[in-house]
């Protein structure tokens, strides 16, 4: 048991660090530090840059363009990326759909979609939630009725992030309404330009347009767009939830965020003296830092388990709960440190409240972290089930 990187890992770290230092655009850095929302073009350009370097689809297998890194290398990469104030900047296609297609897709689907995701030629959004199916996702009602070689879709998806940027949507639909409700769900790929699709913007409480409602009215989708078997959709969704465990905790970005908070507290004054010297602020920052350390080492432990081949379990629920708590605490601290510098609605950025201009929207949007992807309450239900079944480590 030791905490040190091997000489190879240290060399890798130097390489990654140097690359990010040289290649991260200043504008992206600024947005990452202040928490300003990235635009589609920001992300596409950045992903293409990473892909050119071979560092975009780090979670994909080598045969599909992944770099073939060890878990430690992926950890180092993420750490250096965040420390350089480079955005995660990963689209749903890279994080979510890629691994699904790798695991469940037909050879044709892999060939058709994976390269286009890597090159950012397609932009995928995720159609899971529905107005009546949030925490109770399995009760979703959007129907896909087989009709010859097609499905005909009717229903509505909500909280669909960046649907207004998307060329495609992967979604869960109901192909059967008999039996257990989970078993009637299928995983389907849809081109957004098909007839009968309407995207309605939802402005969130950060004042930004991330989210949408997507209405599907008699939308025809070829049956070859089905991923996996009919009725396998729920298992695919669950696979995804437990699959991408390195990133769920968000350790690297939290560390960068915390470093920014310490900088901000050093810059902001209270009675003319650095706020960082204020007794209560010191304790608050210390508490946040220590919670982040607990998260980091819990993440390490889960990674170590994964490396030794243990089956993915409810750790993802634990990491999500711990991780979102830390993220929300840090965003809260942004607003507290900023005080009146955080007041101006961010359209008014010309006032030069610089570092603090996006503290409020970032904090506001951070509240979604305990709602989407399975609310905090649902994660705890999952963990309770495991605990009471005697599955605690």
């Amino acid at each position: 048991m030791d905490i040190d990187f091997s000489p190879e890992d240290r060399a890798f770290q130097q390489e990654v660090r140097a690359w990010f230092k040289a290649h991260t655009p200043a504008e992206l850095k600024r947005k990452t530090v202040t928490g300003e929302m990235l635009q589609k073009d920001d992300i596409v350009q950045w992903q293409r840059r990473l892909d050119t370097q071979g560092w975009l689809v780090t979670g994909w297998p080598k045969e599909h363009g992944g770099p073939g890194w060890t878990p430690t290398q992926r950890y180092i990469f993420d750490l250096e990326r965040a420390a350089a104030s480079a955005p995660v900047g990963l689209s749903m296609g890279v994080i979510m759909l890629g691994p699904v297609l790798v695991a469940f897709g037909t050879p044709e689907q892999k060939a058709q979609y994976l390269p286009r995701i890597r090159r950012c030629e397609d932009w995928w959004c995720q159609g899971y939630s529905e107005p009546g199916a949030g925490s109770d996702l399995a009760s979703l009602k959007t129907t896909a009725v087989a009709d010859g070689d097609d499905y005909i879709l009717n229903g509505s998806k909500i909280w669909t992030t960046y649907a207004h940027w998307a060329t495609h949507m992967f979604c869960l639909v109901r192909t059967s309404s008999t039996g257990k409700k989970q078993e009637g769900i299928s995983f389907l790929l849809i081109e957004m330009d098909r007839a009968g699709i309407e995207v309605k913007p939802i402005v969130s409480i950060d004042g930004e347009h991330h989210l949408n409602q997507v209405f599907l009215t008699d939308v025809r989708v070829p049956r070859k767009n089905l991923v996996g078997r009919e009725g396998q959709g729920w298992d695919i969704a669950k696979y995804l939830l437990t699959h991408e465990r390195t990133s769920i905790a968000g350790v690297a970005d939290c560390k960068a965020h915390l470093a920014n908070l310490y900088t901000a507290a050093g810059e902001r004054r209270s009675g003319g003296r650095p706020l960082a010297e204020d007794g209560a602020m010191r304790l608050k920052l210390a508490r946040a830092e220590i919670e982040l350390m607990a998260l980091e080492y819990t993440n390490f432990r889960v990674l170590a388990d994964t490396a030794t081949g243990k089956a993915p379990g409810p750790e993802s629920s634990l990491l999500k709960t711990m991780g979102t708590a830390v993220q929300q605490t840090l965003s809260e601290l942004d607003v507290e440190i900023a005080a009146e510098m955080a007041w101006p609605w961010h359209e008014g950025g010309e006032l030069g409240h610089g570092r603090y201009a996006h503290a409020m929207p970032r904090y506001c949007f951070s509240r979604a972290a305990t709602i989407y992807g399975g609310s905090d309450e649902v994660q705890k239900n999952v963990l309770a089930k495991m605990l009471l079944a005697g599955g605690a480590r």
Partner: protein, 380 residues
Amino acid sequence: MNFDLSEEQTMLRDAAQKFLRAEYGFDARNKIAASEPGMSREHWRRFGEFGWLGVALPEADGGFGGGIVETIQVAEALGAALVAEPYLASTVLGAQAVARAGNPAQRSTWLPGLASGELILSLAHTEVDARHDLAHVQTRATAKGGGWVLSGRKSGVLGAPWADGFVVVARTSGAVNERRGISLFLVGARTPGVQVAGYKVYDGSRAGDLRLDDVVLGEGALLGTEGEGQALLEHLIDLGIVAACADALGAMGALLRKTGEYVSTRKQFDVPIASFQVIQHRLVDMFAAVEATRSLVLMAALHAEHLDAAVRSRTVSAAKAAIGERARFVAQQAVQLHGGVGMTEELDIGHYFRRLTLFCNLFGSSDHHLQRFAALRAAT
């Protein structure tokens, strides 16, 4: 000891609630906040007609002779309705400054107009390096030819773009952190050398930064005694905190009620989510937070005019520290229990959330007031 409202106080509270419910619904409020001025002068004058703006001003000045207990009745109702108009900025901070320190000329210039809603007067005290240290004042006022010349910067001035004038806190003597040497000045918004950089605030109100470059003022601009303004300023901020806490109470009460209604109707897993015990207990925790807040607002109001300034400030800080934590909790949980829809601009929940978030750090965070409370223990 007596904790009951008088009949007049009860009427004031009920009338404010009734009017705002009828005339200041969420849609009407959003139209006002989104308009170019960002406030409704018409509503403001009606608030004046109802007596809300002069409720704590002496009758001789066009007011109704009430005090902080009347003020918090109005403030709670305004918070519950998400009102954007500058009640805290002008009616509490601005008008009370003149009411407490103004000479006859200053009173007659400002108070009747403030009471009727014709005028708006903001307090400009914060500076960017001061944070919540009221004695940290870099803005300087120099005596010149019987009058004064002001120069400096103020940040976070509530209601600034709407203000007809400012009560500006400036230093006439002393070092930058000294309690002595602080003076208050009445400065017309259109006085040469005054520049307001206004902005829309996340709670839908307006505020701004103030730039004062060699602003020449007459002798009559000095409010109160030269160099002795600190005690008044501290009292004003304490009053402002009490009113802000009452406003927060209104918002928290509204969130509790709305969240209770939502969880009773929203179904997941085929049942209303209110049937989940975890949701029920969360609601109870929100209820307990609101009840404690009501108690603390009462406590602070009952000490707002305490003759011993240390006792007053310590009690007010206790309230602000504890209510801040509770406001954050209630706001966060209201969004959480609403789920996705709680995150949308369309619903009022998020607007209460933002109003309470700003409240948490207004006039100092909970930690700031916890430390002030602890420091004042020795003094009481």
